[in-house]
Symmetry: C2
Subunit: 200 residues, 2 copies
C-alpha cells in the first residue's frame, strides 16, 4: 500500500524548520537546501511544496502568525486580570526566546518586502490589525469588569503598546543595547503601564 | 582647461537622487539606472561612484543619517523648552514628508539587511545610539533648568520614545491605519508625553 502523505503537515514541518533555522542562525541561513536538510529531506521534496525561497519564507511568516494567534488565544482564555493579560500579550511578541526571535526576524524581512510589494504589505497590515484588536478587546474587558479605568483610551493604547513592542522587537534584532533593554526584568510591564497612561 | 569634478558633491547628489526616488516611488524604484537618470547622468558615470545598487543604497542611508543629524542639531540649538524639543525630535523622524518617508524606507531596508550582515547592523546600531543620546541630553537639560521633573528616568524615556517613534514609523510604511494615526494631529506630543511618564 502506498504511504499516504499529509501534504499540509509536510508544509507545516518545512515552515517550522525554516523558523528553527531563522531563530538559530538568522534569516540568511534559511535557504531551501538548509531547510530540507533540517527536516532530513531532499531539496527535491521541498521544491514540491515551495517553488522558491520566497515562497518558503512566506509560509514561515504565516506559520509564525498562526502560532502567535494561538499564543493570543491562550492568554485571552486565562483568568488573569486585564493588565496581566496585556503584559502577557506584550511578552508573547518580544524576542525573548527562539520562537519569538524567529518571528521578529521573519516579520522584519516582510516589513521590508511589504514596503515594495502590495500582497506582502497586506499580510503584515492584517497581522498588525489583529494584534491591535486583541489589545483593544482586552482593555474593553478590563473596563467592563472594573479592572481598568474607564477613562483609558483603548484605541490609543492599542497603537502605543503596539509601537512600543514592535519598535523594541525590530530594533533588538540589530541593536544589542536594545536587546539588553528588552530582556531586562519588568520591560513588558513598563511598556504596558506606559501605554496605559493614554487617556481620552 | 579640463572641468574640475567635485567627487564628494557628485556622490552626495546621487545619494540625494536615490532618496528622492525612495520617497516618490518606494525603495524598489531605486536602481542605479533610475538614479543616474534622475540626475541626468549616464549609468556609466554612476558606476564610477558606486559599484552596485547596494553601495548606492548604503550611501543613501548615510546621507539620510547626516541629514537627520543636521535636523537634531537645529532642534537642539533653539530656545524651545525640553518638551517642545522632544516633540520636534520625534517629528523629525516620523514619516511626515518626503525626506522622512525616504529615511524610514531606507532604514527599514537596512534593518532587514542588518539582521543578516554585521557591518550594516553596526551602522544601524550607531544611528540608534546617537538618537537616544539626543533624547537623553535634551531631558537632562530640561531637568537642569527645571522644565522637566527630576524624577523622570531619562534612560528609560530615551528607549521608550525611540521605540514608540520607530515602531510607528516602520509600521506606517506597510500599514495605512498606522500612517493615519502617525499623521493625526498631536501624535508626536502623545508619544513624548507617554514616554515621559517613565519614572525612576
Amino acid at each position: 500500500m502506498p504511504k499516504v502523505v499529509d501534504h499540509e503537515q509536510r508544509r507545516r514541518e518545512l515552515a517550522d524548520a525554516a523558523l528553527s533555522l531563522a531563530a538559530r542562525d538568522g534569516l540568511a541561513a534559511v535557504t531551501t537546501r538548509a531547510t530540507a536538510a533540517e527536516c532530513g529531506w531532499s531539496t527535491g521534496v521541498l521544491n514540491h511544496y515551495f517553488s522558491s525561497r520566497h515562497d518558503l519564507l512566506l509560509a514561515a511568516l504565516r506559520r509564525a502568525g498562526t502560532l502567535q494567534g494561538q499564543a493570543y488565544q491562550q492568554i485571552i482564555a486565562t483568568d488573569a486580570d486585564a493588565r496581566a493579560k496585556l503584559i502577557a500579550i506584550t511578552e508573547s511578541v518580544l524576542p525573548l526566546d527562539d520562537r519569538r526571535l524567529a518571528m521578529t526576524r521573519i516579520f522584519l524581512f516582510f516589513y521590508a518586502e511589504g514596503a515594495a510589494q502590495e500582497s506582502e504589505r497586506e499580510e503584515i497590515a492584517g497581522f498588525l490589525a489583529r494584534w491591535r484588536l486583541v489589545i483593544r478587546s482586552t482593555i474593553a474587558e478590563g473596563q467592563r469588569n472594573g479592572g481598568l479605568d474607564a477613562a483609558i483610551d483603548g484605541e490609543a493604547v492599542a497603537f502605543l503598546l503596539q509601537f512600543l513592542t514592535d519598535g523594541a522587537s525590530l530594533e533588538a534584532v540589530v541593536d544589542p543595547a536594545t536587546m539588553e533593554a528588552v530582556r531586562s526584568p519588568g520591560f513588558a510591564e513598563r511598556c504596558v503601564d506606559t501605554a496605559l497612561s493614554a487617556r481620552r
